[in-house]
Symmetry: D3
Subunit: 136 residues, 6 copies
């Protein structure tokens, strides 16, 4: 039988929403306060869901310690206490909306989790705003 | 690629669960304390999920400011600090269970969100009770 | 040595804020949407704090089962799924603001908890609004 | 139309993760601190989701009072304030991982909820770790 | 009788912890990742507590609508979606630690709330870190 | 000026409430299900509050990294994933009620935090039950 395990982690980062091809007025119209050229920031909460067979001996879908270590390497080390626009290669040319942050982390994690397991991410940007991404 | 954005809003309302075609005993048996003729109330928390393509330029599935404004018009203005049974046209002849409240709000919102986007609602009536509705 | 134990309970009720001696305009100016004559409602969360000596044998300030039973009798049975204005003797002539609800419950509980113990209440009316009352 | 109702309950239990066929070193490597022979414990939070048709008269998918009573019988009475390994028949020969606890409760509940209704469980073992199980 | 009302608000901001008089090594030793020259950010949650007499007629310590409007002017408009170091006059020459942010907001609010009322702030920088300040 | 910083940590442990000098009936009457001889367990959440002067240069009451490390040594290493009755010296002869756990941790921490700073602990045993202790 299959189950879906979920691990929640947090990272705190600065970002700015901005499309270089648009003029200042369009950027402000679409992104509002999130377009502040001096950046603002969030406490991001990421839920990582891995679905797969329950191992009949261990009773685990996946060892949470291994998932935890993977998330420390691939998410916390890369993004925690960073400026997403300035400090990360992933958002040099990609607008760091919650949708794009979730997709970038998904793509990074997808490479490290075996393909027999399904992967879904939920990224909370604020208490009221979140986004879900599963690569489909 | 697609993603699902989620916006959470709150509204505080009074309601009474009651089926006029049933006698008092049946109403009390089914609805218990929720059948109080003088009403009781809740802090409703509504999660609104919209699934669609991530715009490759903006990085948005949908502008959260637009979704926020829509929810203020269609949910907060209509239901916040209201008596659902007495103050709203939707529940004049419909029992305001969490299931029906979710369905009514879904139907109102479905008309205002383009059909290429999927819509799902989760309505929390108390900390322990909630209902999910997606029109299927 | 002393410690403060805290028990959290919930009750869901309807209410209306209204001062009979004021005209409609003043009531609306002060109480806004909370003055709706058809009532609205909340999921109230009450934290009850009791401070006293830790019994050196049991290790308890007070048996939580006894506090829980007291709160069921004095708070849940009286106020849960009630219309505070219509269904309770306490608010027949008292405006059921969060401040007054906290004071009423405090006075009810104070009679049932021995005077060597200090009592403090925190009443949450919404996620963002609360009131603390300790009879001083 | 269908909706999914969700009821959340809690139970506090001790457990130990251990596979008798493995040696001590392997058990510690896989289960780490969770292998402590003297047990440790958790405040488990269980979300029980039942999906079915909304009854057009009552407006209910299922009476929450009935679901609540079922969960008290099948979950709280069996597992609350218990040692899962020592006090329950279900985990005499089954490792009480979150995955297996969710599957055991699912199987118990599935027998008591009519088959026209779908059942999904989410079991939170800590604030950051959870598992979802739907029998598929 | 007196009561303490509490209003919770949120603002999302970028900041950097840095003491200009210290060398880079000392700044990194004390502030660690928070010293990142490109800034990072947080979802700040602020609890504002106002203690005063319960008005015997209205049943209010203070009109929450007035407190809410004050916090929108003095906190949200000044700090939400801002870079605290670059966009605000208050932190031009003051290190924006949680302690200092709380003290600055306290001083701003203290001028606008009558002196018969006591004021206390709790500022949450992350889920696990917060600071309380009451001007004493 | 002074401020109070607060750090929240978690530990998961098993325990049994039991007074050896009492007979089985008295133990069950007072401690109920918590007297289970096979133990049960909790996800404990501990809030540690330290009050002191804000350093005028750093803007810190105390370096949170130092407090975090102290709590890992004195709380997590000692109590996480432990059986409080069997695995710890502190509760060999002391009933591990929430009151006593808070007092024990307070006494341990008090030795490691300079005396110019005030210390207060809040220990949450369940979502609804907690205890506050400050050594007075």
């Amino acid at each position: 039988m299959k189950a879906t395990i979920c691990r929640k982690i947090r990272f705190n980062a600065a970002h700015r929403l901005h499309v270089p091809d648009w003029d200042a007025q369009t950027n402000f119209k679409v992104f509002g306060k999130c377009n502040n050229p001096n950046y603002h920031g969030h406490n991001y909460v990421l839920e990582v869901k891995v679905r797969g067979e329950i191992d009949p001996v261990s009773g685990y879908v996946m060892d949470m310690k291994i998932l935890k270590a993977l998330l420390e390497n691939e998410v916390e080390d890369k993004f925690d206490h960073k400026n997403l626009n300035l400090d990360t290669s992933e958002f040099k040319d990609l607008n760091p909306t919650a949708e794009n942050i979730a997709a970038v982390i998904y793509n990074n994690l997808r490479l490290k989790i075996e393909n027999t397991k399904e992967l879904t991410l939920i990224l909370h940007e604020t208490e009221n705003n979140s986004v879900e991404y599963n690569g489909k």
